[in-house]
């Protein structure tokens, strides 16, 4: 599974993109976040306040219940501020 971080989530994790092999039983974005939080203090900090974190699975917006599976591209970022 490819996991991407943007904006201050990238700054906090210190990572723009990483390959993650989540343990068995992880089937949703919410479960994936629980796993990612354990990877480093930076990851824990990035996911401290989920209300300001948005997620996209395979480049479409999702939520905590969105299914994830091996091979997916999962991106985490703050609310967007373009335009």
């Amino acid at each position: 599974m490819k996991v991407l971080y943007f904006a201050w989530l990238k700054a906090k994790t210190g990572i723009g993109e990483e390959s993650v092999a989540p343990p068995p039983g992880i089937a949703t974005v919410g479960q994936l976040i629980e796993h990612l939080r354990t990877l480093s203090p930076g990851h824990a900090a990035a996911f401290e306040t989920l209300s300001v974190v948005r997620v996209a699975v395979n480049q479409d917006y999702g939520g905590l219940d969105t299914p994830v599976k091996p091979g997916d591209e999962v991106a985490f970022f703050p609310p967007v501020t373009g335009g």
């Binding site: 996209a56 917006y61 970022f77 609310p79 501020t81 373009g82 335009g83």
Partner: protein, 160 residues
């Protein structure tokens, strides 16, 4: 058409190509967003530069691939809602100085109502759906721009 690019664009050339040879277009509405020289947001509580601090530049980060996908979806939605001849969305990324162009959206139609509404829709939806993030570089340091509630409200007007 949508374009995501680092380099600047020429609004006149874009406009010229947009309506060239069309005699069924009654109106074109175009919006250009520019970098302002002051902070347009409330900094995160207790940290970052004060509101009103001079913005020396900003950097626009984006999510390549998803950006194009979302802009195409926004453009397709506009064509579903209004009888449009054509639409154009250009969004830049990378470092931008005050006064520089960030974004251009345009819509043409037989009637001005549709052109205006679609143009407004394009920028409102883009601002809440296209994966871009601004970090402002000020004398007091860098700060990620917070999403604006007013942008959410503007986009919500178009929900149905």
């Amino acid at each position: 058409m949508i374009r995501v690019q680092r380099e600047d664009f020429d609004p006149g050339a874009e406009l010229a190509g947009f309506s060239a040879g069309k005699t069924s277009v009654g109106g074109i509405c175009l919006f250009i967003g520019l970098v302002r020289d002051y902070l347009g947001h409330s900094p995160a509580s207790g940290s970052g530069p004060a509101a009103g601090a001079e913005v020396r530049a900003m950097t626009l980060e984006h999510y390549p691939g998803m950006t194009e996908r979302q802009l195409e979806a926004i453009e397709a939605e506009a064509h579903k809602r209004w009888p449009l001849e054509d639409t154009l969305v250009i969004h830049r990324y990378g470092r931008l100085e005050p006064g520089e162009r960030i974004v251009l959206v345009a819509a043409s139609s037989a009637h001005r109502d549709a052109a205006f509404e679609a143009c407004r829709f394009l920028i409102d939806w883009l601002k809440t759906k296209a994966p871009f993030w601004k970090v402002e570089h000020t004398r007091d340091g860098d700060s990620w721009v917070d999403a604006k509630e007013s942008d959410d409200a503007a986009a919500a007007r178009w929900e149905k």
